[in-house]
C-alpha cells in the first residue's frame, strides 16, 4: 500500500476507488462476525468460494465477507447485492442453488424469509419487519465493508471527514461541531461528548494527553460494541483521530476485552493498514499532525469498564476504581489528561463529520440526538442488534422490530442497561428510550443491552442472577459493595428457596439503598438497581415467593417442584400418575388422580390443562406430555370404586350443619370435603338438577351426561343433602340461612348472566345471551335458534354455543364473529379446530356495530372491520374499527357470548346481611380465606372470580372446605404456606431410548361428518399402547426431589472402602 502524503492525494485515491468499483456485478455478502461464524458462516464462505472458482464465475459474481449485520436470529445469512435479496439461515446444501440464481439474476423463492403476518415471501431485505422499523446509520456500514480492507472503508466515504477537517478546520471548530451535534456518551451515563472534549482540549498538553476507546463490553447479553469493533474498526479509528485533532491528544488506547479475539484481530489489521495508508501515526496526510493508537487487552474484569479502574488496568495495575476527583480528564493514564469514550461514541464521530452536526442532530429527540444500538435478546422472536433513533419507545423496539414474544407467554418486562440497569414493566412500554426517561424509570441506558422477559421469567431469579454476577464482578475494594452485593444475593437466594420473610424485603431495600449511597464507583452505585427496580415494579412476585411459597414463573426450583403439579390449581401430582401408567399400574394412577380432585372424569375431558402449558417436555421445541389424554385413559379404564375416601370423622348426627348455595364444581367439591370431615352439608340448587355450569353450559359432546351424573352421584353421600329447585333470593334469603342452625354458609352460585353487547335493540327477538341458549337446550332440551345463526365472542363459551347451535335441527349455518385474530382467541385451539372442521365459519377482526331488526325481530347485524393498531399493555395489538368499513351479515338468530358475570340480585335485599361486591358482578372475598365481609359466610368459584375454569372451581371448593372447617373449630383461617414439591418416590421404569421417535399422540376423535349433528362424545380414549408410550416421554421432574441422593450413596460406599 502506498502511503499517502497529502490531503489532495487522499482525495484522488478516494475518487479513483469510487470510479473503480462496479456496482452492477452481483455480490454475495456473508456476515461473518463472531455470531455468524458460530452459526457456520466460515463454511458458507468456503463453499461459495468453491462454487465461484469451480464454475468460473470470477469477475461475474463478487463475494464480500463482512461483520455482523445485526439480525443474529437468521445467521448464517447470504445477502445479494445490488438486488437486496436476503437468504436467512442458509443450509450448506442450498448454497449452490443460491449462487446459480445470483448468476442468472434470479431468486430462490422457497429460501426467502416470510412475512410473519401474511406468510408471503419477502424479496427485499429492507422490507423485513426487523429492518423496516430501524434507522441504521452505524450498522448499515457493517454490510458494506469488509473490515480487513481499508479501501472498502474509504470507498464508503471513510476518512473523508477526517481529510476535510484536517484541510480546513481548526481544532476548536472540531470540538464545537461535536458539541453542536449534541451527541452524548454511548457508554451509559450520557455525558456530553463535546463537553468532555472541550475539557480535554483545555488541559495543558505539554506532557501529552490520552484518548481512550472503552471497548470493555461486559454486560451479559450485550454485544453491540463487538459488532462495530469486528465489522467496522476503521470508523472507531477515524473517530479517535478526529478526537485527537480536536483535543490535542497525542496517544490513543483501545481497551478491548481479551474475550473478543476477532475484534482484536480486525482492529490490529485496521490499525496497521491505517498507518500504512498514512492516516494514522506520524505526520498524518502530510499535515504535520501526529497521533497513534495502541490496543490494550483487558483480562475480563467487568469493573474495568469503569473509567478509573480502566485507567489503572491500562497502567498495568489491579483494576480497581479510585476516588474521583481528580477526574481522568485532569489526571488519567500515568497522571496525564485522559478522555474516555465508548466504542459506539467513537463510531458516531465520523458520522457527525460526514453528515454535519446540524443534520446529525435532527435524528432523535431534543437533548438525545442520534441513533442508539441496542442488543435485543431474551424472550423475543427476532434476536439481534437494533439501531433506532433516540426516543423510540420500548414498545416499538420490542414488538415492531423484535416481533414480540416467541411463544404463548406474555412479555412482562424488559431489562435495560445490564447488571447496573433495571427492569421496566410492560405497562411502561410507551416510555421513550433516552438517557433521562430511563433514569427516571429506575433503570439506565447503559451500553444498550435489552433483555426481554416474559411470564416464564421470575423477577426474583433475575435479581438474583444479576446479584450473583455483581458479587463476583465487584472489585471488592469498597466493603459496602463487596459485602452488600453478597448479602443481597444471600437474601434473594433465601427468598427463591422459600426461606424468605417479609422483613427480608425491608432489609433488602434498606441495604440496596445503602449500597447505592455508600460506594465509590459507578458499579457499586448502580449495583442495587436490579433489586430496587424489581422491588418497585414486581413486589407482588416477591410476596408470592415469601408468603405463598410459590414461584409463578416456575423458575425457582425449590418452590416449583414439578411444573405439572405446580400449575395445577388442585395440585394434582401428574408426574405420579404418569409414572404409574408407565409401569402399567393403572389403579394406582387413578388414586393419584382422584385424591386431590373429586371430578377426575370431568377434568379428564374439559380441563384447560394448565399442566401441559408448562410441561418441561414441551420446552425447547418438543411437545408437552398429553397429560389430560392420559388422565382420560385412566379414568375410562379404572372403576371409581377403587378409591375409598378417607373419612376423618365417623358420621355423627351432632356435627354442625353447613349450607352451600350452588351445586356446581365449587359447591360439590366443598360439600364433599366437608362431608369427609363429618359435617352435615345441605346444598341448595336453583335448577332441577345438580352440576351448575357443568350441566348447564358444557355440551354433552364434550362431557357425556352419564359420566357427569356418575361423578356427581359419587359425591352425594349420607352427610350431604341436596335440595334442588331452591334458589337463593327466590325461595330463601341469606339472612334466613344465617338465622337457621348452619354454622357457616358457602356461596358458589357461579356466573350465569351473559354480558351484553351494549347495542340498541339487543332485546330484539332472535338475540339470545349464550347462557340462556345453552341452558335452554342442555337442561330442558329446548331449541331457541334456527336458520342462520351468528355467535359473537371468542372464548370457550362462544365455541360451545356455536357447536351446540350447529347441532340444532333447524339451523342452516353458524358464524362466529371475533374482534381480534384467531391466534388471540381465548378458546382452546383444539376446540376452534373442531368447530371449523364441523363447518362453522369464523370471521375475525370484526366489531358488531348495530343490531338490525324489523318489528322487534332480528334481521341481521352490521359489523365494522378491524385493523390491528398499537400494542396494548397485554402485549397484544389493539383492534381498531376502520371507519366506513360497515357491512351487514343477515342473521335469523344471534347468540351473544362475550363473557359472563354473576347475578347478584339474589344476595341483595337479604335484610341485615349485606354482602360486599366488586364491580357489582362478583362477591368480594379475601382470596386466601374466601371470607366475605359477613362472618361465617364464604364464597368461591366463578361468583368471586368471574367466569373461570372447572379446575379453578374445584380448587376453590377444596379451599372452602378447609377454611370452613378451621372457622368452625375457631382456628386461624390463614395459615403459613409451605412449598409444594414432589414427595413420593416412584422408581423409574426401564429407561427409554432418548432418540426414539415417540411423539405426542393425537387423541382419537369421531369424524367431523358423523359428529356434526349428534351429541355423541367427540374425543375418544387413548389406547393402552399409546398411553404407556406417551408416559415414557415424561421427563420425571419429580425425581430431582424424590430420588435418593446418588452422590451421597456413592460417597458413603466409597468412604467405607479401605484405601
Amino acid at each position: 500500500m502506498k502511503q499517502i502524503q497529502s490531503i489532495d492525494d487522499f482525495g484522488m485515491l478516494s475518487s479513483r476507488l469510487h470510479g473503480d468499483r462496479d456496482m452492477e456485478i452481483p455480490t454475495i455478502v456473508i456476515s461473518a462476525g463472531t455470531c455468524g461464524q458460530a452459526c457456520g458462516a466460515n463454511d458458507l464462505i468456503r463453499i461459495v468460494k468453491r462454487e465461484i472458482i469451480s464454475n468460473g464465475l470470477l469477475g461475474k459474481v463478487g463475494l464480500r465477507v463482512t461483520g455482523c449485520h445485526g439480525f443474529c436470529q437468521i445467521e448464517p445469512l447470504m445477502l445479494i447485492e445490488p438486488a437486496g435479496t436476503l437468504y436467512p439461515n442458509v443450509e450448506m446444501d442450498d448454497v449452490a442453488r443460491i449462487v446459480e440464481a445470483v448468476v442468472n439474476n434470479d431468486i430462490v423463492e422457497e429460501l426467502l424469509p416470510r412475512d410473519p403476518e401474511s406468510g408471503n415471501p419477502i424479496t427485499q431485505e429492507s422490507d423485513l419487519p426487523f429492518y423496516r422499523n430501524q434507522r441504521m446509520t452505524i450498522l448499515e456500514r457493517n454490510k458494506k465493508i469488509d473490515p480487513i480492507k481499508i479501501y472498502d472503508y474509504v470507498v464508503w466515504d471513510g476518512y473523508k471527514g477526517l481529510a476535510s477537517l484536517l484541510a480546513k478546520s481548526e481544532p476548536k471548530e472540531v470540538v464545537e461541531e461535536v458539541k453542536r451535534s449534541g451527541i452524548r456518551g454511548r457508554g451509559g451515563a450520557g455525558f456530553s461528548t463535546g463537553m468532555k472534549w472541550e475539557f480535554l482540549s483545555r488541559q495543558p498538553g505539554d506532557k501529552g494527553k490520552f484518548l481512550v476507546c472503552n471497548a470493555d463490553e461486559g454486560d451479559p447479553g450485550a454485544y453491540m460494541d463487538r459488532s462495530i469493533l469486528e465489522g467496522n474498526p476503521h470508523s472507531i479509528i477515524e473517530g479517535m483521530i478526529i478526537g485527537a485533532y480536536g483535543t490535542g491528544a497525542t496517544r490513543g488506547v483501545i481497551y478491548a476485552r481479551a474475550e473478543y479475539p476477532l475484534a482484536i484481530k480486525h482492529l490490529t489489521i485496521a490499525l496497521r493498514q491505517a498507518r500504512d495508508l498514512g492516516v494514522l501515526g506520524e505526520n498524518i496526510l502530510g499535515t504535520g499532525f501526529s497521533f497513534d493508537i495502541d490496543i490494550v487487552r483487558g483480562a475480563g474484569a467487568f469493573v474495568c469498564g469503569e473509567e478509573t479502574a480502566l485507567i489503572r488496568s491500562i497502567e498495568g495495575k489491579m483494576g480497581e476504581p479510585r476516588q474521583r476527583p481528580p477526574f481522568p480528564i485532569t489526571k488519567g493514564i500515568h497522571g496525564k489528561p485522559t478522555a474516555i469514550n465508548n466504542v459506539e461514541t467513537w463510531a458516531n464521530v465520523p458520522v457527525i463529520f460526514r453528515l454535519g452536526a446540524g443534520e446529525y442532530a435532527k435524528v432523535g429527540t431534543k437533548g438525545n440526538s442520534g441513533t442508539k444500538i441496542f442488543s435485543l435478546v431474551g424472550k423475543i422472536k427476532n434476536t439481534g442488534l437494533v439501531e433506532v433513533p433516540m426516543g423510540t419507545t420500548i414498545g416499538e423496539i420490542v414488538f415492531d422490530i423484535g416481533g414480540g414474544s416467541p411463544g404463548d407467554a406474555r412479555i412482562k418486562a424488559v431489562q435495560t442497561g445490564g447488571p447496573s440497569g433495571g427492569c421496566i414493566p410492560v405497562e411502561k412500554f410507551d416510555l421513550p428510550v433516552d438517557y433521562d426517561s430511563l433514569a427516571k424509570a429506575g433503570s439506565i441506558m447503559g451500553s444498550g443491552g435489552m433483555i426481554v422477559m416474559d411470564e416464564n421469567t421470575c423477577m426474583v431469579d433475575v435479581a438474583k442472577y444479576y446479584m450473583n454476577f455483581l458479587k463476583d464482578e465487584s472489585c471488592g475494594k469498597c466493603f459496602s459493595c463487596r459485602k452488600g452485593t453478597q448479602r443481597m444475593y444471600e437474601i434473594l437466594d433465601g427468598i427463591s428457596k422459600g426461606e424468605g420473610t417479609l422483613d427480608d424485603l425491608d432489609l433488602l431495600e434498606e441495604l440496596a439503598i445503602a449500597v447505592k449511597d455508600s460506594t465509590m464507583c459507578g458499579l457499586g452505585q448502580t449495583a442495587s438497581n436490579p433489586v430496587l427496580s424489581t422491588l418497585k415494579y414486581f413486589t407482588e412476585e416477591y410476596r408470592r415467593h415469601i408468603v405463598d411459597k410459590r414461584c409463578d414463573a416456575l423458575v425457582c426450583k425449590e418452590l416449583t417442584g414439578a411444573p405439572c403439579q405446580a400449575t395445577c390449581p388442585v395440585g394434582t401430582e401428574a408426574w405420579r400418575y404418569i409414572a404409574h401408567i408407565g409401569k402399567g399400574e393403572f389403579e394406582k394412577a387413578y388414586l393419584a388422580i382422584r385424591e386431590p380432585n373429586p371430578f377426575p372424569s370431568v377434568c379428564a375431558r374439559v380441563c384447560n390443562h394448565p399442566c401441559e402449558s408448562r410441561c418441561r417436555a414441551g420446552e425447547s421445541g418438543g411437545e408437552p406430555i398429553a397429560i389430560r389424554a392420559l388422565k382420560r385413559f385412566v379414568t375410562d379404564r379404572v372403576d371409581p370404586g377403587a378409591y375409598k375416601p378417607m373419612r376423618l370423622v365417623k358420621s355423627d348426627p351432632k356435627m354442625p350443619g353447613i349450607a352451600i348455595v350452588g351445586s356446581g364444581p365449587a359447591g360439590l367439591t366443598a360439600a364433599h370435603g366437608l362431608s369427609l370431615m363429618g359435617y352435615k352439608v345441605t346444598i341448595f340448587e336453583a335448577e332441577d338438577s345438580p352440576g351448575g355450569m357443568l350441566t348447564a353450559a358444557i355440551p354433552a359432546y364434550r362431557l357425556p351426561r352419564e359420566v357427569l351424573q356418575k361423578e356427581i352421584d359419587s359425591l352425594i353421600d349420607e352427610n350431604v343433602t341436596l335440595e334442588c329447585n331452591r334458589a337463593l333470593g327466590r325461595d330463601f334469603t341469606l339472612q334466613e340461612l344465617l338465622d337457621d342452625d348452619y354454622k357457616a354458609v358457602y356461596l358458589a352460585m357461579g356466573a350465569h348472566k351473559s354480558r351484553r353487547l351494549g347495542l340498541a335493540d339487543e332485546d330484539a327477538k332472535g338475540v339470545h345471551p349464550s347462557i340462556n341458549f345453552l341452558k335452554a337446550f342442555n337442561l330442558r332440551g329446548e331449541s331457541l335458534v334456527e336458520g342462520r345463526v351468528g355467535v359473537v365472542g371468542g372464548g370457550n363459551s362462544a365455541i360451545d354455543a356455536a357447536r351446540v347451535a350447529l347441532r340444532q335441527e333447524k339451523v342452516d349455518s353458524v358464524t362466529i364473529l371475533y374482534r381480534r385474530t384467531r391466534e388471540e382467541m381465548p378458546a382452546f385451539p383444539e376446540e376452534i379446530d373442531a368447530a371449523l372442521e364441523e363447518g362453522i365459519e369464523l370471521v375475525t377482526l370484526v366489531t358488531p356495530a348495530k343490531i338490525l331488526s324489523r318489528d322487534g325481530q332480528l334481521e341481521g347485524i352490521e359489523c365494522l372491520r378491524n385493523e390491528l393498531g398499537a400494542y396494548d399493555s397485554s402485549g397484544r395489538r389493539r383492534p381498531i374499527p376502520i371507519d366506513g368499513s360497515e357491512y351487514t351479515i343477515p342473521l335469523d338468530n344471534l347468540i351473544v357470548a362475550i363473557s359472563e358475570s354473576s347475578d347478584l340480585d339474589c344476595v341483595e335485599g337479604s335484610g341485615e346481611a349485606k354482602i360486599d361486591t366488586a364491580d357489582n358482578d362478583r362477591i368480594k372475598v379475601n382470596p386466601k380465606t374466601l371470607c366475605t365481609n359477613l362472618p361465617g359466610v364464604f364464597a368461591g368459584g366463578d361468583v368471586t372470580t368471574g367466569p373461570s375454569t372447572v379446575v379453578e372451581a374445584v380448587a376453590a371448593g377444596k379451599k372452602a372446605a378447609v377454611v370452613i372447617d378451621r372457622y368452625v373449630r375457631g382456628d386461624e383461617l390463614e395459615q403459613p404456606a409451605s412449598p409444594v414439591v414432589p414427595k413420593i418416590y416412584i422408581e423409574p421404569g426401564a429407561s427409554v431410548d432418548e432418540e426414539s421417535e415417540a411423539s405426542r399422540p393425537r387423541q382419537p376423535e369421531i369424524s367431523a361428518e358423523s359428529r356434526k349433528r349428534g351429541f355423541e362424545e367427540v374425543e375418544l380414549s387413548l389406547t393402552e399402547e399409546d398411553a404407556i408410550r406417551e408416559s415414557s416421554r415424561c421427563l420425571r421432574c419429580d425425581l430431582e426431589f424424590t430420588r435418593p441422593n446418588q452422590d451421597e450413596v456413592e460417597k458413603s460406599t466409597a468412604e467405607s472402602k479401605p484405601a
Partner: protein, 225 residues
C-alpha cells in the same frame, strides 16, 4: 488555602487536604476503620461517609479520600449519612463480630443487632496491612488477590514471601483480628477470636518473639505449648 463549609461551619485548610482532615480539624467525629495517619487514604471501609453538595445532586462520598475543594458544602451527620453508615456497621458486625474495634464503633452508633446470616471472618479487607507493609515497612510482601467475593489478602500465589521480614506491622494495624486486644490481661478479653487467627502475612512457625509487637501473644503461646 481552601475554604469549605462543614456542618455550617466555615473552615480553611491547606491545599491537598482531605475532607476528613478538615472535619477532624473542626472536631467533628467521623468514624474510620481503614484510615490511618501515615498511610495513603484508600476508602475501603466506607465508614467515613459524608454528604456533599446540594439536593437533588447531593451524594455521599468517603471523606478520607475526597479532596477538600473550594466552596464545598459538607454534612458529616445528615440522616442519609447516618443511615448508610449504620448499614455499613451492620454489615461489618455480620461479618466480623469478634473485632473489638468494630464492636466499639457499633456501640457508639447504637447499632446493637445485625439482621444477616452471621459470619465469623477474620478479615474485612480494609487494606491497612497492605499499605503498612508497602508504605511504612517498604516491603510490599502482601497484597490483594482476586475480586468480588473471592478477593483475599496474601502473598503472590500464596508462596512464602522473600520480602516479608516478619515485622508484624500488618498485625499491629489490623482492626479485625485484634491480637492486641487482650495482651496479657485475659479478663479484658471479649472474644477469644485471636486464638483462631492465622496471620495473613506470616507463617506461624517462623513467628519469632524477638521480632514481634505482640509478645506475649495468646496465639504464640498456644503454638509453643
Amino acid at each position: 488555602m481552601i475554604n469549605l463549609t462543614i456542618n455550617g461551619l466555615k473552615v480553611s485548610i491547606e491545599d491537598g487536604s482531605t475532607v476528613l482532615e478538615a472535619a477532624q480539624f473542626l472536631g467533628f467525629p467521623i468514624p474510620t476503620l481503614c484510615h490511618m495517619e501515615g498511610l495513603e487514604p484508600y476508602g475501603a471501609c466506607r465508614l467515613c461517609l459524608v454528604e456533599i453538595g446540594k439536593a437533588p445532586n447531593a451524594k455521599l462520598v468517603s471523606s478520607c479520600t475526597y479532596p477538600a475543594q473550594e466552596g464545598l458544602v459538607v454534612r458529616t451527620a445528615s440522616s442519609r449519612v447516618l443511615k448508610a453508615r449504620k448499614m455499613v456497621i451492620e454489615l461489618l458486625l455480620a461479618s466480623c463480630p469478634q473485632s473489638k474495634v468494630i464492636q466499639d464503633i457499633a456501640a457508639a452508633h447504637a447499632v446493637n443487632q445485625q439482621r444477616f446470616k452471621q459470619e465469623h471472618e477474620d478479615c474485612i479487607l480494609c487494606g491497612l496491612c497492605v499499605r503498612m507493609c508497602k508504605e511504612q515497612m517498604m516491603a510490599g510482601a502482601i497484597g490483594f488477590r482476586g475480586r468480588g467475593e473471592n478477593r483475599s489478602l496474601g502473598t503472590p500465589f500464596d508462596a512464602k514471601s522473600e520480602e516479608c521480614r516478619f515485622c508484624g506491622g500488618c498485625m499491629y494495624v489490623c482492626p479485625a483480628c485484634q491480637l492486641r486486644c487482650t495482651f496479657n490481661e485475659p479478663e479484658k478479653a471479649i472474644c477469644g477470636g485471636c486464638q483462631n487467627l492465622s496471620p495473613p502475612c506470616v507463617e506461624e512457625e517462623k513467628f519469632d518473639d524477638m521480632m514481634c509487637y505482640m509478645s506475649p501473644c495468646v496465639a504464640c503461646e498456644i503454638d509453643k505449648s
